[in-house]
Symmetry: C2
Subunit: 301 residues, 2 copies
């Protein structure tokens, strides 16, 4: 699982900082999460393949999370894309993209498939044989979802020594990997756990931005491998955080702790602070495993 | 008159090239012309004051000319702008900005005043005591206007020697600067041209992008000081230029020659070519005074 931060600063794009966008590579799938202005240029700078992105998840319709979407959609068209593109985001995202395409007398040769969200409960919005994506309802000034990406548990792994000792024919291997017990020709039943190892542990990634401190997300993201949680402010600005429905670094850490996350990545920083280290120091008073997002930075898990 | 090119490349923003946007400073007014994605960052990089921009002119609604507008409008709001902002552009521009503000539950504290254009004839769309702006109807795949910015002729300049020789009281100076003759106390009439010099010559700037070769613009921009004319392609791609309703460098030069422009600036280059010099060389076979736009470049006239 690899996470590339294209932008992780709040509010407006600036000379050296970009609004929210990130790419999650999980089980060989490339998911784009949020798409602030300039995302397509950040994709180029980070040498990520446009054509491998088939799913875009938009948390909410504030500009710093989606003003780059129409540009990306248009560029996909200019590049001759043929694959379907799936857009998951709040109700309204289709209307705005359709209107912009209509007014510019443009269209996409590929199919643009919108999955508009309006539920206030967590729901599965994507699923294939290897990955599941669920919404994480967040509390912000407009309708907002985070997203939980989970690898599915793989097949059990064959213990080749055991299988060969029992002289089991290879035609049964798939059944064994699927967890089935085996009856030998002499009638003995061999339990599956004598023939297999547990599958690789799975990884999960939760993206929670933008949101005020909200303990309702905890049962949804419990035991997550990596939690990205916004920390627009430090505790010194907690009144401002409450007023604007954002979180402080300490609040992000408290969610990570209570959800038993393995690691916390902070981001969505206000540009008012002199150093990102201040966010890390503050969060580490609550939770130990803190990483700092920054534009162009990649994390592998 | 100072022109700063924020972006002058066709199609999509890339790592090192920006879509169309430029700032014209004329008679101490700052006009923004087109607003491709990333324009607000380019304004910052070029250290142009956001707050001095009160008028934005959008040529047409293709993304590389206006996808940065909503971001700029939002950033103006975040920066606490109070001055009115005037937007001149094709019918539809208001609908799209309004929809985006509505869906993000945002608003501007300053007044946003739209001047939607749908005429196919050249018309005056801005005028104050020093500057006039007219549309230049262009021929492209969607409804498109160029813009002609003209300084107004100033007052005549007093010839202080002459005025003092005739012992004319200073209370008449303004009338003289306005072009009036003067009757002295002894009854002699002194013609204005004995008391004044001609005002400073005025400058004008014509922005023509995007357009196919179109001689109908010539009477509108005749004798212009500086013509910016798109040259997406070289003559080697003239079929493609015709098909996409763009111009070649040679065609841009032909318009400059026929309109008796003093200088031609080329821009809106396709990124397929190895060097911008190719555009200059080609245009100079037709017209001598050719300049090349490039991102971040300024021209003073």
């Amino acid at each position: 699982m690899k996470l590339t931060i294209l932008g992780c600063y709040a509010a407006t794009p600036r000379t050296l900082t970009n609004p929210t966008s990130q790419v999650l590579e999980i089980k060989n799938r490339l998911f784009l999460i949020d798409c602030g202005e300039g995302t397509q240029v950040q994709l180029r700078k980070n040498k990520l393949k446009f054509s491998k992105i088939n799913h875009v998840f938009i948390s909410h319709l504030h500009g710093d999370h989606f003003f780059g979407l129409i540009g990306l959609i248009s560029t996909f068209a200019l590049l001759g894309r043929v694959n379907d593109l799936h857009i998951y985001g709040p109700k309204g995202v289709k209307e705005i993209i359709d209107l912009q395409l209509k007014l510019s007398n443009s269209w996409t040769n590929y199919q643009l498939i919108f999955h508009e969200l309006d539920s206030k409960k967590s729901e599965i919005i994507f699923e294939d044989e290897k990955v599941t994506v669920k919404t994480i309802p967040l509390k912000h000034r407009v309708y907002t979802n985070g997203f939980l990406f989970q690898e599915k548990l793989g097949e059990r792994k064959l213990d080749m020594n055991a299988v060969q000792n029992f002289e089991i024919d290879s035609c049964y291997y798939q059944n064994i990997k699927n967890g089935r017990d085996i009856t030998l020709e002499d009638g003995r039943v061999i339990k599956n756990d004598k023939l297999t190892y547990d599958p690789d542990p799975t990884l999960s990634y939760a993206f929670c931005s933008d949101t005020k401190y909200n303990e309702e997300v905890i049962p949804i993201i419990e035991n997550v491998s990596v939690l990205y949680h916004e920390s627009t402010f430090l505790s010194s600005e907690e009144d401002l955080a409450a007023k604007t429905m954002h979180s402080t670094a300490k609040e992000a850490a408290r969610i990570a702790l209570k959800a038993n996350a393995q690691q916390l990545i902070l981001g969505h920083y206000s540009t008012r602070y002199s150093s990102l280290d201040l966010f890390k120091e503050e969060a580490e008073t609550i939770f130990k495993e803190v990483l700092l997002a920054d534009d162009g930075k990649s994390f592998e898990f």
